[in-house]
């Protein structure tokens, strides 16, 4: 069976006025189904850009990018949006929950794009919240939750449509050590027990220790990788 994510000769160039900034330079990468990959590197190394490309938030300037056998670098904006809705769950550093919605309603957001009824949406959101240990906080607004709890809600939102891939951009960047460990443990659990494929960008070596594989980027190319085995 091929890798879930296959990247060949991927490059990304930003043009700011007359300036051309090559952020990714002919990158190659395979991510196996059920993998948990941490991308590390200094600021400007291209790790977030690579993550955005894998998650379908941006399009490469050159190269190919396949997820579950589908070439996504060719998709138009609307097609990419529909692809993201079914295949990718996002977890951001600053949670990015909608402040005027309850935890339940935030988790239901991706399901608005499906044909599920209101009752079905509510049920699936409830299950997702229970999975992350927040079943009793469904009606709380984000302002009524701690940072760690908000990130759990964000993870529930990322999981609710049962995506192929979880893309996490500094998921513990805004959390204290204790909350960060909880979140990383949860991600490990999702990977190990539920088979979720996770790609995570992090600055924190301790966070990277929770992944199965760590890849280092510098100046738009991979420089080294390491693999960790965890139970």
């Amino acid at each position: 069976m091929g890798a879930l994510v296959e990247i060949r000769n991927l490059s990304k160039v930003y043009e700011r006025g007359k300036e051309r900034i090559e952020v990714l330079h002919h990158v190659n990468l395979d991510i196996e189904r059920g993998g948990f990959v941490a991308l590390m590197g200094p600021s400007g190394s291209g790790k977030t850009t690579l993550l955005n490309l894998i998650g379908g938030l941006d399009s490469p300037s050159e190269g190919t990018l396949s997820v579950a056998g589908r070439r996504i670098e060719r998709l138009g904006e609307d097609a990419l949006a529909r692809w993201r809705a079914s295949n990718v769950g996002f977890v951001f550093q600053f949670y990015n929950l909608l402040p005027m919605l309850s935890a339940q309603k935030n988790v239901e957001l991706p399901l608005l794009l499906t044909r599920l009824s209101a009752t079905q949406r509510k049920r699936k959101a409830s299950i997702a919240l229970q999975l992350v240990g927040l079943g009793n906080r469904a009606q709380h607004k984000p302002s009524e939750l701690s940072g760690g709890q908000q990130q759990r809600v964000a993870i529930a939102r990322a999981l609710v449509s049962d995506p192929t891939l979880l893309v996490c951009d500094e998921p513990t960047g805004d959390l204290d050590r204790h909350s960060a460990t909880d979140i990383l443990t949860l991600l490990q659990q999702l990977n190990r027990d539920h088979g979720k494929t996770i790609v995570m960008v992090t600055h924190d070596p301790k966070a990277a220790e929770h992944a199965r594989q760590t890849l280092h980027l510098d100046k738009g190319t991979f420089v080294e990788s390491s693999e960790l085995a965890y139970a």
Partner: protein
């Protein structure tokens, strides 16, 4: 409908700002409802079915100038004329100048040409038989607690009696009703016998203020009007004959061009509303760029984001507008109930289906206009730039 809770939550994200914006929208549509009620009343008053069959003949120079009564028999014999009657402004005051209502001296057959005024047969006969008899509208009678048999003194403002007295006393012999609620304001009239008036007044004898002509065929209105005016061509009492609708519009236009004034006021109000709500929406979307980016990240397409923002701005206008129109309806109903006789001005019509439809159309149009630019901004935002704060 599944997105409604999302749109609603977005609208009330900043409750205070939304509340004050809703108040502005409410005020604008309250004014719209009230003005349109008055404007429609002016139009309806002269658009009644009966009025469509009537012409009004007045002096070509000014409707305040008199015409000879001798024209009556000449008009009566004109082809196309089914019937003709006449009247003269009396202009009496009851007790206090504040108590103003239209008072007119009318020919015996005046009610024949105004079937919308329901007067019982025996009261018609009494009006004919009793020279000092008066017939008033039901609303007017109710306002001043008049009943059949009352003696009602009016102070003349224009026509003293031959004995130089300004006080004319009339016997109330009839009270008429108007069934059409849109024409209920016509129950504010006070009618006296022209024969008695003409005999007793100190000047202007043998003249009338205007003729009312009933057409045999309304399709020949222009032709008949021209023939009636030809009767007095090149005389010292040239006439202008026109439909009752045109006459009423021209008469009201002498007081004020209600349509123009109303239109100007509403134009200014809605222009201000567009600026105000446009600014609110622009601010609201600007604050929520990262949230819109998150929606796009989750898979909401550009078109869906556009639709969400437009829905929000339309909802803002519809919410405030609907409440404003509702309050306008309540105010109009209260005014119509408490002030049935409103003098020479037409009454207000209820804020009904036509005004609501018009108002709804304006709400949606303004909502789309003010939401267009913010919606485009939301639609065009780049996820990566928006999430990184650029």
């Amino acid at each position: 409908m599944k997105y409604f809770s999302l749109v609603w939550a977005a609208l009330f994200r900043r409750k205070t700002r939304t509340f004050f914006t809703l108040l502005s929208v409410l005020a604008a549509f309250l004014l719209f409802g009230l003005l349109d009620s008055v404007r429609t009343a002016f139009a309806v008053a002269s658009n009644s079915v009966a009025a469509a069959n009537r012409l009004i003949t007045v002096s070509k120079i000014s409707f305040t100038m008199s015409l000879p009564k001798s024209l009556y028999t000449r008009i009566q014999t004109e082809p196309g004329v089914a019937d003709v009657t006449y009247a003269n402004w009396f202009g009496g005051i009851y007790q206090d100048p504040k108590h103003f209502f239209p008072s007119m001296a009318v020919a015996d057959n005046y009610f024949d040409l105004h079937p919308e005024w329901q007067l019982p047969g025996e009261q018609r006969k009494a009006f004919h038989d009793i020279r000092t008899g008066a017939v008033v509208g039901a609303s007017l009678a109710e306002k001043y607690h008049w009943k059949i048999g009352d003696k009602i003194p009016l102070q003349a403002t224009m026509f003293p009696q031959k004995d130089r007295s300004n006080v004319w006393t009339f016997d109330l012999v009839g009270i008429y009703h108007v069934d059409d609620p849109n024409l209920r304001g016509q129950e504010s009239n006070f009618f006296i016998n022209w024969d008695y008036f003409d005999e007793a007044r100190s000047f202007g004898n043998g003249t009338v203020g205007w003729y009312v002509v009933k057409l045999a065929d309304r399709n020949r209105a222009d032709q008949v009007a021209g023939e009636i005016d030809a009767l007095s061509a090149d005389s010292d009492h040239e006439t202008r004959t026109q439909s009752e609708q045109a006459f009423t519009a021209a008469l009201m236009g002498q007081f004020a061009d209600v349509g123009l004034i109303g239109g100007a006021i509403m134009g200014a109000v809605f222009f201000t509303l567009v600026l105000l709500t446009g600014n609110t929406m622009a601010q609201a979307v600007r604050e929520r760029i990262p949230e819109l980016a998150v929606l796009k990240t989750l898979g909401f397409t550009n078109r869906t984001v556009l639709a969400l923002v437009l829905s929000e701005s339309v909802l803002l206008l519809v919410l405030g507008g609907a409440v404003g129109l509702g309050i306008a309806g309540l105010i109009v109903d209260a005014v119509r109930t408490s002030l049935p006789a409103m003098g020479p001005t037409a009454p207000m019509v209820p804020v009904g289906g036509a005004i609501w439809l018009q108002g709804l159309g304006v709400m949606i149009l303004v909502g789309l206009v003010v939401g267009a630019l913010p919606a485009m901004r939301g639609m065009r935002l780049r996820i990566v730039d928006a999430l990184s704060g650029h």
